[in-house]
Symmetry: C2
Subunit: 330 residues, 2 copies
């Protein structure tokens, strides 16, 4: 019998939600503004309204629970949100309880970090389906990641594993937003990549990026780099290759440590596709032990938004497999 | 009732073996030359003789099986040795079968990589006992490692996980023996560290290391660095601090990725203790995400040889727990 859950992807500006059929994918999806400035209680109200709205679209489908991906680390309980840097006022909020109290029915609610959730979605509904284990990396404002090991999230000692974005590739390199020297985020995080591109472009007056960005090179975005690269702009292609090389170096360290040989790359910056990923593949081979190169692959995840909601819903399916199908959350 | 197994640590020059009591430690240990130049069959004969010799010392103790740590990666089967770089002729040898065929009784035989085995020994008999999860790093000729997660070896997709020595801390750094740029081994592996020290010492004519090594600075060893540091030699202390800083950087990346916050350091070079480990601790804090710094620790494992044999024997105890106590190996 088909099983259904609702997956919520809580972001700093948008809350996305979907009704997901286990093993199949999204039946219905919708979104609403987060309105994070109005504080956690308001945001949680909006999440619950979104859940109700989704339920109304398919009242005939019995929902087994609610899964929520949030932009921050979550402890073992999968309930309490210690801190969210992008949402004001979110400190030690028991999101599971807060949601359950507002729901008219009692459902299991499971909360996890959004990068982990995207990895889980990717494993069961996305580019990760052919693989039991892979490293997921999400190239966006920050550089997020998750380790999927034997089809489950590898959570580490406290639940925060997978922080690939803060792995250093140069002990004397530039600092990322956490003050870590040479962290990969300081090269390929969206703002960092744009800033590096700006300086690289100053002497490259022939590049079409000067026209695209206008007189203020601060307006350069990774998307512009991609578009210029598609139009065969050398400076743009070099810049994306530079980013890919750095990415490959970091991934080499991750593969050597984990012996997980599949890497799935998603997120906005990854839309640049092979302009970044092909140099990353070449570099990766130089940074992986020769004995571990067999089967090493970098794969692009193109279903960015979907896997977040699918993975959130899948938290529920996994939770019920582990703890039984009682509607009361553990 | 007390349970016993024999743990074998196969090295390029020495085979070490011990009778180990589960949860207690070594009852009796001995060693013999590997004589690796005479080929695998000869070495395996010597392993089996060592086993017999250990058994004879305590004929009253019923042995539950044989565990073997080998200096190379082992597949999931824990039987076949694909390749050992330090032992000539070892290619695709089914070490489990080869040992079993030579034994007078039928015992379970379990084979694993020596770094993993040392990690397991450390977890159950050494400095790792207080922790359920830790990263083990062995500073010797090479830089080996293992991930102990929830008291077991994290083996990755093919069994080769834990290769911390080849994680890069500088994408443009010096090459290690596997040709990986900036791999930590290229800084703190025994020969590399000695070579870096040699060049650093050239202008430091006041250092006592010039006397210790004699006119040929190629004779500098990490042990000499440690002895000179103990005698308050500035150049030696700086060199070990330099090494520790690099180690801390690499460990930061590993902690960020795994969210495993305890690091246990063993192996010959680690005898330099806090001369290396204190700078490593300081650097580590700079390379770990602020949100993950709670509980981060670097601990020294001083029982280097013992944990190798203990961990090898423990492979047997874990195998029997998982597969039952039949004496016939699975």
């Amino acid at each position: 019998m088909a099983a259904y859950a609702i997956g919520i992807d809580l972001g700093g500006t948008t809350i996305k939600g979907a009704l997901v059929e286990q093993g199949e994918g999204i039946v219905h999806e919708t979104a609403t503004a987060t309105e994070s400035d109005d504080g956690p209680a308001h945001v949680i109200d909006r999440i619950v309204k979104l859940i109700a709205k989704i339920q109304e679209t398919h009242p005939e489908k019995e929902i087994q629970g609610i899964g929520v991906g949030v932009p921050g680390a979550i402890g073992w309980d999968r309930a309490i949100v210690p801190y969210l840097s992008n949402l004001p006022g979110w400190t030690n909020i028991n999101l599971r309880e807060e949601i359950q109290q507002r729901l008219s029915e009692s459902f299991p609610v499971v909360v996890d970090n959004d990068a982990n959730v995207a990895g889980l979605g990717c494993a069961h509904y996305g580019a990760g389906r052919p693989y039991t284990s892979f490293i997921m990396i999400t190239l966006g404002t920050g550089v997020g990641g998750a380790i999927i090991y034997q089809n489950r999230i590898f959570r580490g000692a406290t639940g925060a594993a997978g922080e690939v974005g803060h792995m250093s590739i140069d002990y004397e390199g530039p600092f990322d937003r956490s003050g870590i020297a040479g962290a990969i985020e300081a090269y390929i995080g969206q703002k960092f990549l744009s800033r590096h591109a700006r300086y690289r472009l100053l002497p490259r007056t022939e590049s079409m990026l000067h026209k695209m960005a206008g007189p203020d090179l601060k307006k350069i975005t990774p998307k512009m780099l991609y578009e210029a690269a598609l139009a065969n702009d050398d400076a743009a292609k070099e810049m994306l290759a530079w980013a890919g090389h750095k990415l490959g170096c970091m991934l080499g360290s991750a593969v050597n440590l984990l012996d997980i040989r599949k890497v799935i790359v998603g997120g906005g910056v990854s839309l640049a596709g092979d302009f970044i990923l092909e140099p990353a593949r070449q570099a990766l081979m130089h940074f992986v032990l020769p004995s571990m190169r067999d089967g090493v692959e970098i794969i692009q995840e193109t279903r960015g938004n979907e896997v977040g909601m699918q993975g959130a819903a899948h938290l529920v399916f996994q939770h019920l497999e582990a703890h039984g199908s009682s509607k009361v959350a553990s």
